[in-house]
Symmetry: C2
Subunit: 236 residues, 2 copies
DNA sequence: CGGATTGTTGAGGATACTCAAGTTAGGTGG
DNA sequence: CCACCTAACTTGAGTATCCTCAACAATCCG
């Protein structure tokens, strides 16, 4: 499970970039690297939160399930992201499940190291706070959308968020280069896969996106922004 | 605008309770106390975030408006709460407007003091992080509700959240002892005041709550929990 | 090649919104 | 203290959006 850790890879992560070599070695000495196959969970909702993580490579989907079994995609975890920091939220357990959508590599620290690391590396504390802060703003944006916008606009915003946070620019547009199902998008936008399918079909006919089984390419982001902001009729 | 600050009042606030007298004096020396009349804003969305605050007395409503003018109530601020900490979110401006719903008293620090205070009083950093963490979990809960629940259940959860976070236990039930309009509740639950009115009327007929103009008393919280969790038909 | 997962598309209907008209409560000023 | 005015609330009717149900098609993987 555990392998040696490449310092140069870790250096590229914003969370660590301001650390001295000595600090970095100290921090990394307490971590273990783990490999996760596509479809497997790094941790599951309700489990005792005994580790926190940084994603080095790959892509994770964080979900929450309600008591009735309804699922929601909370967010995607991208390389460099800190996740599973239940301790920072004063929680003993993980509030959601994070699943690898492609083969992924994480760095894992025992949660017992959290307080010590924050104390000894203040930059990390600031960074952790801003991580949580960014998520909070994201959550507020989604709440606003769910409260005030109709489905097509919500889906537009969802797709644009995906593109911004996890997309990869190409000549033809912005590609989501890991599997995303219509169900996933539905669970991000607060709708059903049927509605997402219809909307994406319409957008595809208009040349705004290119779909496919768990595939997505955004051809015309600007037009999607217009739809998302309600400045254009919408195609449904 | 500025008055002397009573140390014994501040002592009761969790954020400061672990500080030594010397620390507290240092922190308070940089703060100014402000009075805000009901209906006035402590700060407004988009303003440069040059202060952060603790609410000493009263009650605030934090709102965000969309580009089209749709409003959402983000949360209520209760005495002891830290708010306006845009800096922690790495924002130069306030993401929302906070308005006093009753006459309120705040402690205000210049935002320039933020980094210094965090450095010199680590307990404050941990506390700030947990404050933001708690808000994040709250936001996730609301997202889940908006995504998966029908209106009546969302309103039930909204009312229960209000009761838990800002309610006051009485013989007859849990009282919200500051003005809350149906419009407010609607903007918390992601619906219209019409729908809220209908739902609360039905609940009132069933003896679950007692309404009134900007008044709310929760008579039977347990039954509302059942409605919120979908274990009971609902009254619409 | 066959099974399973994912996605498409149609029809019908329910939820909750919009529009509309009125009522009640509270504050203000004469 | 009463009349008035406004803001908050109530309630009804009609309807749009989007969900549910359903059946089928396409894609992937072993």
């Amino acid at each position: 499970m555990s392998t040696t850790i490449d310092r140069s890879v870790v250096r590229t992560i914003p969370l660590f970039e301001r650390m001295t070599d000595a600090e970095l070695d100290d921090v990394l000495s307490q971590a273990a690297s783990r490999r996760h196959q596509a479809g497997t969970a790094v941790f599951e909702q309700g489990q005792s939160a005994d580790h926190f993580f940084v994603l080095l490579h790959g892509r994770l989907r964080v979900t929450q399930v309600t008591a009735e079994g309804q699922q929601m995609v909370v967010r995607m975890v991208n390389p460099g992201d800190l996740f599973g920091i239940a301790r920072a939220l004063r929680r003993p357990d993980y509030p959601g499940t994070s699943t690898a959508v492609v083969e992924s590599i994480t760095l894992a620290w025992p949660m017992t190291a959290w307080d010590g690391m924050l104390e000894q590396h203040p930059a990390l504390a600031v960074n952790a706070m801003q991580t949580v802060g960014a998520r909070l703003q994201d959550a507020h944006a989604r709440m606003r959308e769910l409260s005030t916008e109709e489905v097509e606009r919500r889906v537009a915003h969802t797709v644009l968020r995906l593109a911004n946070q996890s997309g990869k620019k190409e000549a033809a547009g912005i590609r989501i280069d890991f599997p995303v199902s219509k169900q996933d998008i539905a669970e991000m936008a607060g709708t059903t896969l049927h509605t997402v399918s219809r909307i994406l079909s319409a957008w595809e006919d208009a040349g705004l996106v290119e779909g496919g089984r768990q595939k997505l390419l955004i051809r015309d982001p600007h037009q999607l922004v217009l739809i998302g902001d309600g400045h254009v009729p919408g195609l449904l």
